[in-house]
């Protein structure tokens, strides 16, 4: 028997080290996985929020600090000053709204916004006139690319490239309309390069940084989970070893005294000690907290308490209970743990679980005398949990049953 027990403890220990998930909270009401997955997402979100603030700040600062003074200084030189200024105001207002919405995590619909920006783009190029075409007063050159970035935040870079390309074609049409020289085309090329490079760099760079942050956070979270699992496995292994040592010592003492003839096998007290030691060893072999189920956990705690008070108890669980609301668990466990406190002689606690049924039963010997603490005999329903209690002279039998 002792060799088998050792082998069994070994087997259980090996299984414990390979627990797939982190240990749940004591009441098990929330599965732990989402919290673990949420950590990298939160880090990525924080990182992304920083990049958004940067993008909004660049767009609005450029628009106000560089675009506005130039527009105001040159307003008399435009072919249609109202259009240029009106376009600026429209983009300023739309850009501010889009920026605020983006920071709040509820961006404006991207494509209508992009369409509006392109329409302003074309109107301003038409209205700005030949002399101001490449001047700072043609604010769409410098500013619009940043608003494209705001409009398409979090989407694929190809959309941004398409918008910037359209922007470049509109500009090309305006340049060609004025019969450009070689210098104009060279300037055009430079401007297009300038409007492309920075927004695309910021757009791609922020996406990469967010991705890296998420990965790093995920790696860190995984390591933490692993460490927590290892610690939990180590702790439960240690607890199990301690219990085995304790139980083994108690059983060994009884056996030693019996072997040495110090104790009489016919002595009821010696028999009681043997029964208790055997029950403890049996439970140690049969039970494991591999499945951190809160109902079984509660019942085990109650059984441990009864056992410490000297009651030989068997707790046998078959199947894994489905996740149950705490009220149902209470209704299943509480009536029996209450009776357990009053049990004498021995007790048999069983749990049979399926996906839509959990039956918990406590059987103890029936005793003489009035039933001070027991519930009234018979059957009654407590919400979705059926209670049953009866004494038949041989046994007291309490059963709670939940049907899903």
């Amino acid at each position: 028997m002792s060799a088998d027990l050792g082998a069994s403890a070994e087997r259980i220990r090996t299984r414990k080290v390979r627990i797939p998930g982190p240990p749940g909270p004591a009441d098990g009401s929330t599965p732990p996985e989402p919290a673990v997955l949420a950590a990298p997402a939160a880090v990525a979100h924080a990182s992304d929020r920083g990049a958004r603030i940067v993008a909004v700040a660049i767009a609005l600062a450029w628009h106000v600090a560089i675009g506005l003074p130039a527009v105001l200084a040159m307003r008399t030189q435009f072919t249609a000053p109202t259009v240029v200024l009106g376009g600026w105001i429209l983009v300023a207002v739309t850009g501010a709204v889009a920026g605020v919405r983006l920071l709040r995590g509820a961006p404006l619909p991207p494509w209508p916004l992009a369409g509006l920006l392109l329409a302003v783009d074309a109107a301003v190029f038409a209205a700005v006139g030949e002399r101001q075409l490449f001047a700072a007063a043609n604010w769409v050159w410098g500013t619009l690319g940043w608003f494209f970035v705001l409009a398409l935040w979090g989407r694929r870079v190809s959309g941004l490239v398409a918008l910037l390309t359209t922007h470049a074609l509109i500009a090309l049409a305006a340049v060609l309309a004025h019969g450009p020289g070689a210098a104009d085309l060279a300037r055009y090329t430079m401007y297009v390069y300038g409007t492309f490079s920075l927004p695309v760099a910021v757009f791609v760079g922020s996406a990469v940084i967010v991705g890296l942050a998420r990965e790093r956070a995920a790696a860190a979270a995984a390591m933490h989970t692993l460490a927590a699992e290892r610690a939990a496995a180590e702790r439960s292994r240690q607890e199990r070893r301690d219990r085995l040592a304790l139980v083994g010592a108690a059983a060994g003492r009884v056996l030693g005294e019996l072997a040495a003839g110090e104790v009489d096998p016919d002595d009821p007290e010696a028999q009681r000690r043997c029964v208790l030691a055997a029950a403890r060893l049996r439970r140690l072999i049969a039970e494991s907290d591999d499945v951190p189920d809160p109902l079984l956990h509660e019942l085990r705690a109650a059984a441990d308490l009864a056992e410490r008070n000297g009651l030989p108890i068997d707790l046998i669980a078959i199947g894994t209970p489905p996740p149950l609301p705490v009220q149902i668990r209470r209704r299943l466990a509480d009536p029996l743990t209450g009776l357990l406190a009053d049990a004498r002689g021995w007790a048999r606690l069983t749990v049979v679980s399926g996906p839509d049924e959990v039956v918990v039963s406590l059987v103890t010997p029936d005793r003489e005398g009035p039933d001070a603490t027991g519930p009234p005999p018979g059957e009654h329903d407590d919400g979705p949990v059926q209670h049953l209690y009866e004494r038949d002279g041989d046994i007291r039998w309490a059963q709670t049953r939940w049907l899903g």
Binding site: A7, I316, I318, G319, V363
Partner: protein, 237 residues
């Protein structure tokens, strides 16, 4: 408590038992249990099934410790069952998966080591005459069987198994279900017979089934399709 008296199953002939266990103290303990029943005689003991059966080729029942020298002897169990050896598995490993695997492999019965003398004697006597005996631990494993291809039990059979597992007293189950103890046993045994169709075929399973039909415990047509069992809920006379 609650073990069934098995009456006149083998006539006057003694039932020969072979015990295979790698712990001498357990062998001695089981031998002492069996010695309390005059119809049983232990023919051979040892820790190697082949050697024990060479020493006692005529053993009616083999009591086999499922864990021999640190290994689960399920393949040996299947081999013995296929050749018609009535093997009663006994083990302290009472997780339901192991118990059901032992039934699938052809064990006539599964006995938890702590279930004690009465169940041990009753199981061996029943096995010797190819009759089922379901100790409470095995009833628990059957009632909680999660496998999708498990035999389809009727409501009464399930309830009888469940209550028997909980209380370990057929008298108490009978009072609770308001039926006779005999009927409780029939429900439990019928559930067990349905398990003869789970897992691979074995000579022992065929023998259990044949005897159950002979005894009128089940009708042949009931065994063919389990689904129909839900509608046949009355015990056979």
């Amino acid at each position: 408590m609650g073990a069934d008296p098995v009456v006149g199953v083998t006539g006057d002939r003694l039932v020969g038992v072979a015990i295979v266990d790698d712990h001498p103290v357990v062998v001695e303990g089981v031998r002492a249990w069996l010695a309390s029943e005059p119809r049983l005689t232990v023919l051979a003991t040892g820790d190697d099934p082949d050697e024990v059966l060479r020493a006692a080729p005529d053993a009616d029942v083999v009591l086999l410790d499922l864990r021999l020298h640190g290994r689960m002897a399920l393949d040996k169990l299947a081999e013995l069952s296929a050749t018609g050896r009535r093997v009663v598995v006994y083990s302290e490993h009472t997780d339901p998966g192991t118990m059901l695997a032992a039934l699938d492999a052809g064990a006539v019965a599964f006995l938890a080591k702590h279930e004690g003398r009465e169940h041990c004697v009753a199981t061996v006597l029943a096995a010797a005459s190819d009759r089922p005996y379901v100790p409470p631990a095995l009833a628990g494993a059957m009632v909680g069987d999660p496998r999708p291809d498990r035999p389809m039990l009727s409501d009464k059979e399930r309830e009888a198994l469940l209550l028997w597992f909980q209380s370990m007293s057929k008298a108490s189950v009978a009072r609770r279900m308001r039926i006779s103890e005999h009927t409780v046993k029939q429900y439990v045994d019928r559930a067990r017979i349905k398990y003869t169709r789970a897992g691979r075929p074995a000579a022992t399973k065929a023998a259990l089934l044949a005897r159950a039909i002979e005894d009128g415990l089940v009708r042949p047509e009931e065994i063919g399709i389990y689904r129909s069992q839900a509608t046949h809920d009355r015990p056979t006379p």
